[in-house]
Symmetry: C2
Subunit: 93 residues, 2 copies
């Protein structure tokens, strides 16, 4: 499935917050109209930090277009399933 | 300011997730139509967990009506100000 060229996704991992802020700002500067942040588990709070810092410090005309939360199932190494909360924050310029 | 009787708020702190799940379920069982979860900083992911567990395991007809994120300023003991991200998740029955 081809993704629309002007949309993009940033997955939040364990790097510092500012690395993800930079990734989002770069996407918008390269012409993206919408950037979606995705995070799971304890990284959810970092996704919220990234969204707030982009909006308040770097690109004031960015709006939080939509926030979704859901539950995902992860398969662990021993084959058992674990449920984890996830968030998607769509930023729009 | 008086709050509407059928609305209520649950602040997420450092207790276990299930304590907050129970608080939300109790509010709905006592007749609340809307319960809002509020959390700051690293506790944001716990608020998402609580919302998902209430919806998926306890009250299937609860809907996530709205999610807001924002930045709050906290005054620390030495008088300096710290910014912290916050979330509000409104659940509706």
């Amino acid at each position: 499935m081809e993704e629309k060229k002007d949309d993009s996704t940033v997955f939040i991992g364990k790097k510092g917050v500012m690395g993800y802020v930079l990734a989002v700002v770069t996407q918008f500067n390269n012409g993206s109209k919408e950037v979606t942040l995705k995070a799971r588990g304890k990284l959810i709070s970092r996704a919220v930090d990234v969204a707030e810092i982009v909006k308040n410090r770097f690109i004031p005309d960015v709006k939080i277009q939509n926030i979704n939360i859901k539950t995902e199932e992860l398969m662990s190494e021993d084959g058992s399933k674990n449920k984890v909360s996830a968030i998607e924050i769509a930023l729009q310029k």
